[in-house]
């Protein structure tokens, strides 16, 4: 009764087409992203030149980390947004969404998922390709060259790393969506959810790893940052990609992502029920 998988895949596809539709904006986004990535890479390379091995990364590791961040930055919506729900609440169009025989939360998850997939490709592939020409990147294929402890051997390890990275990115997206959806839902009660969005952006920028790797933060702050959901959006997927985590540490990181995703999505579900109740009792 709540809508089929095909429904949500179609929603995701529509959303993806929507975000891919504006060619000029897409090209401009990819270009800007590449340029910023290059600037960030040179800045951090200077730092790592002074302090080699800082935070457990070598030079090629930190450059790769930068471009992973560039790939994930809009996909994970580290600057907030991506979910049009507040706009629809304000305009009253949410009434029409409620009238559909589909799950409200899953609808928005599919919608945001389509967006994230497109942006991962647009913001991920071209900048990474350019970066590969300019810098020495560490891709999961370059087995054994790691100076950071991890040595995944053989072709199976490579595929495994890519697979784990995909899982980690997917979980990171669920965490990102979960948080942003909760914030978006508050628009049912608050006249303006933008204050909360700003707080989210601030936290995401400093605590996800997009500014600097969380591993270079001092003790307690690092511990806190690594436990918060923001780490799940960027730091953890990047570490999985770079092979910086192995064994129990790898498992713990993925479990942390999955745990946050579960908690946030369940909260979103509960809050959706309350928002619906508010809407049906109080009106639009």
């Amino acid at each position: 009764m709540r809508g089929s998988v095909a429904t949500y895949l179609t929603v995701a596809r529509c959303s993806a087409r929507r975000y891919a539709g504006y060619r000029a904006a897409t090209a401009a986004g990819a270009f800007t992203n590449t340029v910023f990535g290059i600037i960030r890479a040179y800045v951090l390379l200077q730092v790592w030149h002074q302090q080699p091995g800082l935070g457990g990364y070598d030079a090629s590791g930190v450059v790769t980390f930068v471009f992973l961040g560039q790939a994930l930055i809009t996909s994970m919506a580290l600057f907030g947004g991506g979910i049009d729900l507040p706009e629809r609440v304000r305009s009253g169009a949410v009434t029409m969404d409620m009238a559909r025989p589909v799950s409200f939360q899953t609808w928005w998850l599919a919608d945001d998922g389509g967006r994230a997939a497109v942006q991962l490709i647009i913001r991920g592939v071209p900048p990474m390709a350019v970066a590969a020409l300019l810098f020495d990147l560490r891709l999961p294929t370059s087995v054994g060259t790691t100076s950071t402890g991890m040595a995944s051997a053989g072709i199976g390890g490579v595929i495994g790393t890519w697979g784990l990275f995909a899982v980690s990115v997917a979980l990171g997206f669920l965490v990102s969506f979960g948080l942003r959806y909760l914030i978006a839902l508050t628009s049912f009660w608050l006249l303006d959810q933008r204050g909360l969005e700003s707080a989210y952006t601030l936290c995401a920028v400093f605590l996800s790893g997009i500014s600097v790797p969380l591993t270079i933060m001092p003790g307690a702050l690092r511990g806190l940052a690594e436990a918060l959901p923001f780490a799940a959006m960027m730091q953890i997927p990047a570490d999985v990609f770079l092979g910086n985590r192995t064994g129990a540490s790898l498992f713990a990181a993925i479990a942390l992502q999955a745990g946050w995703a579960a908690v946030l999505l369940a909260s979103g579900r509960a809050l959706t029920a309350r928002a619906t109740r508010k809407l049906v009792i109080q009106g639009g």
């Binding site: 095909a6 529509c14 087409r17 025989p101 009106g283």
Partner: protein, 410 residues
Amino acid sequence: MTTAFPPPASTPDGQAGAAVQPANARLVVENAEPAIEMDGVGKTFVLRRRAGRLRRERVDVPAVADLTFRINAGEMVGYLGPNGAGKSTTIKMLIGILVPSAGRIRVCGLDPSRQRMELARRLGVVFGQRTTLWWDLPLRDSFDLLRHIYRIPPDRFRENLDHFVDLLQMAPFLETPVRQLSLGQRMRGDLTAALLHDPEIVYLDEPTIGLDVVSKAAVRGFLAELNRARGTTIVLTTHDMTDIEQLCPRVLVIDHGRLGFDGELRDLRAQIGGERILVVDLTEPHPPIDVAGTRVVRVDGPRQWLAFPAGASAAPLVATVADRYPLIDLSIREPAIEDVIARLYTSGTEDPSDTRNSSGAEDFSGTKNPSGTEDVPGTEDFSGAEDFSGTDGNRPVPRQSGTSDTAASL
């Protein structure tokens, strides 16, 4: 609108015919029972208002109260009321996205707020001021999504889509992003979107708002055909009285949250009354005609306008005028439905008979048409009246009307 809707099961291929067989059977069953039942339904919103520095007081705002009516399957009903009367609140309760604070609602035998998802598959909703279409994507993509949402069998979907595209002439812009469509094109898309899954009931909230005359006519023709050919129950909210005159034999009028009228349009007109106008053309300019029971509201050369109570018979009046004056031609004009409705709103809960013979003439005597070039409130409104006036037995004069004033030549 020359193309007719197919009956629900008229598929060329046997499998699709079998797939829609239940829909056909459903119609038969539902004709026996009401599609919509409202029983003493009320909705009160609770607002918190600031009362002093920290204190907040609770204010109950009743939106609708004690709504009781029943709409049978296959009916086409106009739901009227001024802004803020409670029309949208009622529609939202019928869809199930608003829970009534009192009373009982059944739509297709379901409780809308408790069985919203189940009900949604059997309803179509069009809000004229909003769109369900994907703004940035071609029209076709939105339709394709609906196929999944409502799990429309592929054959049925294709057949419905082909027919709607044909009927509403959407082929030229099916691949155009919705944001580039004109309002009329978008509305046709929204109508299609609401109907692809063969809903039993369709709610339309101002489906013709902002459309030009041609598009309005297309939408009306489409709805009439939908109702006639498929037996779809249609509830129409509008401020455009032509929609009502041309489409809805039955009207519900809501004002201040209460049902003010439930019945046929012509009964509404008779109940609220006002005045009818006898327009006479004499051979030459003449002093105002003096006939008992009438008053002259306007003179323009050889043409004069005589107001008389809507409830009175026009026959003796016509006879008297023809007997005493050099009459060439005459016609009779019904009170425009706008004026009837407006009078109902303003009269509130008063006994309608009190207002019957008051203030009717002003509406016809030029205040409504300051230009003075044309005294009917628009030919479009006017032409609709004949659909509902001809069957009234106690008024012997044929009240034909049209764009010309010479309806009943002598």
